[in-house]
């Protein structure tokens, strides 16, 4: 039976205290925190991070048949973003890659497609709003990957129903970096009847009663409508899960999947979970966990509550605005980085996206991959070796206060991988004062910079979370 066989959630390192907004603008903000994609992250890079965690948990035997990437904030149009994620995950060229882009509903479609084709769906969003808006403070950034397959699913679908309607309660013109919204009472009026229709129909399909539900996930970008759902649908409010808006914010297209990951982190076998998504209508999906969940939880690499607690919560609002492009600040008196050229990026795509180096017959690892062995001088006697999931230690480092960066200073290090291989790269999600020789790091996929509209995706290292 097809179902979710593995999942991975990625929360960025940074949190913005909503009071930081109020502190600077004198209004807006509110209580709690929102998650913030760093200056070197976007929906594509975060999708890679979530996908890596999910695929590692799925295990080496798992073979994704397709990759479905969904976001409302794509890095590119025309050009696929799913192929970037595909390359960084090291998937075979025969595995399809598809973008589902634009509306919050895109993520629903991506999951529907992935579940029908034993694929991986990755939902990723970076939420922005005009400075001082509720959209800005209530938003959050995250990515979630759901792997579907037939072997030992941990949760299976018991029912799903869509109630779709056309009404304009929020909208964003392509090219704009914030949404506009109608007054929220309208959204509640237009949306609630559709939720009621979908809840009733999904329950009917599954043969469940409302009282059978152990956990209820309700998400949508209209907080007022979301809040009204339990009463309108006669659902037990005590079964409705914390929607993480206080600690993470609403992560848009990714949010329902993020809450599902949170529920699966702690669920027990045989639990019944309802997912209610309000977006241009409503979708209700009903999931039942299986006996395989217990074993999965032991090897799962996602622990959302720990990730929430581990975030760094002292981001200043000026940096947040700068990172999202709302504040144009004076750069260092240095040239902007050159755009990566397409032909060399294509030639080295396994390295650039997959971090695949080469290992010679003596075991010496060459990063980047080389044709000539450093030790023996032999030519083309190499085998590929993927370094993305291998931990490393800092051999030496520096804090570069002169280099161009959206978030100076640049912290750079020479790192030595466990088992061989040395590489010079930038460190990210790091406190410059805390870097030391011997420190443990792991690799993370990032958007280094954007020049001439070309995003330079590559790998950096970050301090190991478990340290």
């Amino acid at each position: 039976m097809t179902g979710i066989v593995a999942y991975g959630a990625y929360l960025p390192y940074w949190r913005l205290q909503r009071t930081a907004i109020t502190g600077m603008l004198g209004s807006g903000g509110g209580r709690g925190m929102r998650s913030v994609a760093s200056y070197d992250e976007d929906s594509t890079s975060m999708a890679v991070e979530a996908g890596r965690v999910a695929l590692r948990a799925a295990g080496p035997a798992y073979r994704a048949q397709s990759l479905w990437f969904a976001t409302t904030t794509p890095g590119y149009l025309d050009k696929s973003n799913a192929t970037t994620v595909h390359a960084a995950l090291g998937l075979a060229s025969s595995v399809g890659a598809f973008d589902a882009i634009g509306g919050i509903r895109s993520g629903l479609g991506a999951v529907a497609a992935a579940s029908a084709h034993a694929g991986v769906a990755i939902l990723s969003d970076v939420r922005t709003g005009r400075p001082g808006s509720a959209e800005e403070s209530s938003g959050g950034d995250a990515a979630v990957a759901l792997c579907f397959g037939d072997t030992d699913p941990i949760a299976v679908l018991a029912g799903r129903y869509q109630a779709v309607a056309e009404f304009t309660d929020r909208w964003r013109v392509p090219g704009e970096d914030y949404s506009r919204v109608w007054e929220d009472r309208f959204g509640e009026y237009a949306g609630l009847p559709l939720v009621q229709e979908a809840v009733a129909a999904a329950l009917k399909e599954s043969g469940w009663e409302p009282g059978d539900l152990d956990r209820i996930i309700i998400t949508g970008l209209h907080a007022r409508a979301v809040k009204a759902v339990p009463k309108a649908c006669d659902l037990d409010p005590s079964k409705v899960v914390n929607d993480l808006t206080d600690t993470i914010g609403n992560t848009g297209a990714a949010h329902w999947a993020l809450l599902l990951a949170d529920v699966l982190d702690t669920a027990t076998p045989g639990q019944r979970i309802a997912v209610i998504v309000l977006a241009d209508g409503a979708e209700v999906s009903l999931w039942e966990t299986t006996d395989a969940l217990s074993a999965y939880q032991l090897r799962s690499l996602t622990n959302l509550r720990a990730a929430i607690a581990a975030g760094r919560d002292d981001l200043d609002y000026a940096s947040f605005l700068t990172w999202r492009g709302f504040l144009d600040r004076e750069p260092p008196r240095r040239p902007e980085p050159e755009r990566p050229a397409s032909p060399p990026s294509h030639r080295t795509s396994e390295w650039k996206y997959g971090l695949v180096g080469s290992r010679d017959e003596t075991g010496f690892v060459h990063l980047p991959p080389a044709r000539v062995s450093m030790g023996t001088g032999n030519i083309d006697q190499m085998e590929p070796v993927r370094m993305a999931d291998i931990p490393a230690r800092i051999a030496t480092f520096t804090v570069d206060r002169l280099a161009y960066s959206l978030s100076p200073p640049v912290v750079a290090a020479i790192i030595d991988f466990d088992g061989g291989g040395r590489f010079q790269c930038e460190l990210t999600d790091v406190d410059p004062e805390a870097v030391r020789i011997g420190g443990r790091v792991e690799m993370t996929f990032r958007r280094l910079y954007t020049t001439d509209g070309i995003h330079n995706y590559f790998w950096k290292a970050r301090p190991t979370a478990a340290e």
Binding site: P332, R334, P340, L402, A403, V410, F458
Partner: protein, 398 residues
Amino acid sequence: MASHGIRDKVAIVGMGCTQFGEHWDRSTDDLLIDASAEALGSAGVSLGDVDAFWLGTMGSGLSGLTLSRPLKIDHKPVTHVENYCATGSEAFRNACYAVASGAYDVVMAIGVEKLKDSGFSGLVVPSPANDGTSSNVTAPASFSFLAPAYAEKYGVDTQEMKDVMTRIAWKNHRNGALNPRAQFRKEVSKETIACSPLVAGPLGIFDCSGVSDGSAAAIIVRAEDAYKYTDRPIFVKALSFVAGPAAGPIDPSYDYTSFTEVVHSARDAYAQAGITNPRAELAMAEVHDCFTPTELVLMEDLGFAERGFGWKEVLAGTFDLDGELPVNPDGGLKSFGHPIGASGLRMLFECWLQLREEAGERQIASVAAGKTKALTHNLGGSPGACVSFVSVVGSELD
């Protein structure tokens, strides 16, 4: 490796060097005209007497036309060479070989760089179209890798390391203050150096060489002809240039406390020159102090100090102007400035002045005491992946 050298086969018979600095009023052409004219005048020859030219510049022009156009060179061979920050030395080396081969009688090596017109801070190195995966750290950052690695390996604490770096900058500024052609002609207090704004790692602004414009040139002839031009020629004793396999950034056994390329080129140069104890035999050395930790590590790589003891020798004043082995008596890259293509020839210019006892108030005592050989060291690239040049020149034929 066969490296037979060209000891005592060629000689420098004239040199020129512009003042280094922010020459808002002078172009690359102006700098080339001024340095070449001074060199020609110094050798007592005219432009028409020069058979061939080697021009070193990294980014101030392409092809031999960069020199032939402003100088109006009349249908002569002009070769443009580039080898990162060792470009000037590379122009000199190839010019020497051309004379030694017998192909030409009189040649000019000239280096130039016009850095201040870019409008950027620090050095900007253009790169070919690429995949965007190489680390974009700046030059001071890549050399700052040396400091924590050296300190860790030899148990030097953070403050001591900073003191060592500060003393190197203080010494070179002190020397440069005595040099009318230097970019920075002012002594700087150790407090000012130590408290200067950080650029990369522990490196403050005063730990970095000056970004400047400048040009320097040499006229080279066969050794047997040298005394026709001057009664005090400077003979070339050794020229060594190596490019490493760039192993440092990929080989975990490299520890960022040495430049293996420098060790190799120094060994080769000493063999060519017949030097067995460089610290005792050399009158002085001009070394590539692009950043203060570089000079520290070079003291060990060039054999001036034992491994792990260079920092103590620096603090003891061994390499001061009046020390046992004066290093960078002209102020070095630190205060003379570092117009890339000119620096290697600028180093030779100081050897030319000192060995001929024409260095004025910064004249070192070791020459009068009978030492006749001087060393220049010039490198390009970054720790673990660089090119290194070492020359030995002397005022006497062996």
